[in-house]
Symmetry: C2
Subunit: 231 residues, 2 copies
């Protein structure tokens, strides 16, 4: 049928409008912080405030969309940066992941705060966000899985992991890292926590007047984590 479009023109301008609102909201987020004003966004867009509600049911809905985008942006960045490293360079791959996360966070501290800072009061993460949130940590999972199948994890009897912990750890690694010993998976999760703990400390100002050489400190600590995990 002539003129038949997979997505009507109306749907397309709607998508563009939605994207523009999010872009302006992100800019406001970068300058004004977390207390995002819908009315200010509407003003910047040259539209009356109530018009925004055609695209987002509430301010929290807008924030949720930004959160989803942020998770995907971070995940994409991490995936890309890690893919650029030779598959055999396990430590290099881990360091690339660390660097990617930190770089992403330092470039957009407010978006980082949106996803890894205090959650907004009444906010409950919808199902789609958990998939997006998983992308980054999945990359770490493939690294330790690759290390396991290549038999490059340190030998020796693994330290014991309590049953309750082993259960959680196995579920976490079941799909992406099934050949990794529980103790190593547990350590990898610990390294993951340390990565985000350190970045949060840096972004949220907890390192002020304590650590001056941020780059070197971060690299040293994350390299130590690589050794701790065994990659």
């Amino acid at each position: 049928m002539y003129g038949m479009k997979a997505t009507g023109i109306r749907a397309r301008v709607r998508a563009e409008m939605t994207e523009e609102i999010k872009a302006i909201a992100r800019r406001h987020l970068a300058t004004d912080g977390a207390n995002l004003s819908l009315r200010a966004v509407a003003r910047d867009l040259g539209v009356v405030s109530s018009a925004i509600y055609r695209y987002f049911a509430s301010r929290d809905d807008l924030l949720t969309a930004l959160i989803l985008d942020a998770y995907n942006s971070l995940g994409q960045t991490v995936e890309d940066r890690e893919r650029a490293v030779g598959r055999d360079d396990l430590t290099g791959r881990w360091m690339a992941v660390c660097d990617a996360v930190r770089g992403w966070a330092l470039e957009r501290p407010h978006e980082y705060a949106l996803i890894y800072g205090s959650p907004v009061p009444g906010y409950q993460a919808p199902a789609d966000t958990v998939a997006a949130a998983t992308r980054a940590v999945t990359v770490l999972g493939t690294i330790i899985q690759d290390a396991a199948v290549a038999r490059r994890l340190p030998p020796g009897p693994p330290e014991p992991v309590p049953d309750a912990v082993a259960e959680d750890v196995r579920r976490a690694g079941a799909v992406i890292a099934p050949d990794v010993p529980d103790a190593v998976t547990a350590r990898a999760l610990s390294a993951w926590v340390t990565l985000f703990g350190l970045i949060s400390f840096e972004v949220f100002g907890q390192l002020n007047n304590v650590v001056e050489h941020r780059d070197e400190f971060f690299e040293h600590q994350m390299r130590a984590q690589a050794r701790f995990v065994g990659i």
Copy 2:
């Protein structure tokens, strides 16, 4: 002089009023989250909103006072709980610190978010907060210092620490842990970051649907950190 008081009665009721405002604000924080309403606090106090400004110059000032109190409350709790453990039980002391921080955070997640979550937009930490914020980590410093003077840190040549990192690490440990090798201090800082990273993940919901056995997971990871540091 008869009736002379060290602090006038007027100053005392003012202090009581200030404390009551903070108490109500804390209650509101616990229920409504971070967007604290001055007017709501005033209503609960049975007073008109402008009256609050006799005690706090702005909403941010109130929040700053709550932040200071939170740091001191956490510091006090950690100090008390760690003091209750035998001096020779280094691992026990570390675990007591971890448990104290986590327990404190889980009991008042919003106050935790106030000091370790995303900072409020225009907020700059005043000098008094840094002193209060130091109390908790100082306890960890004394633990590794005690380990060092008792020669209970693992022997062997310490791993090399880059100069830039060593500079930061030495400054951090200069006063409280001067006898600890740089590599160990660096690892202790890493453990500290991991402690707060894990608690933040738990309080902020990042562990949902991932870790079910929270207590066991936390204990296992923190015990691993103790071994990592060497205590």
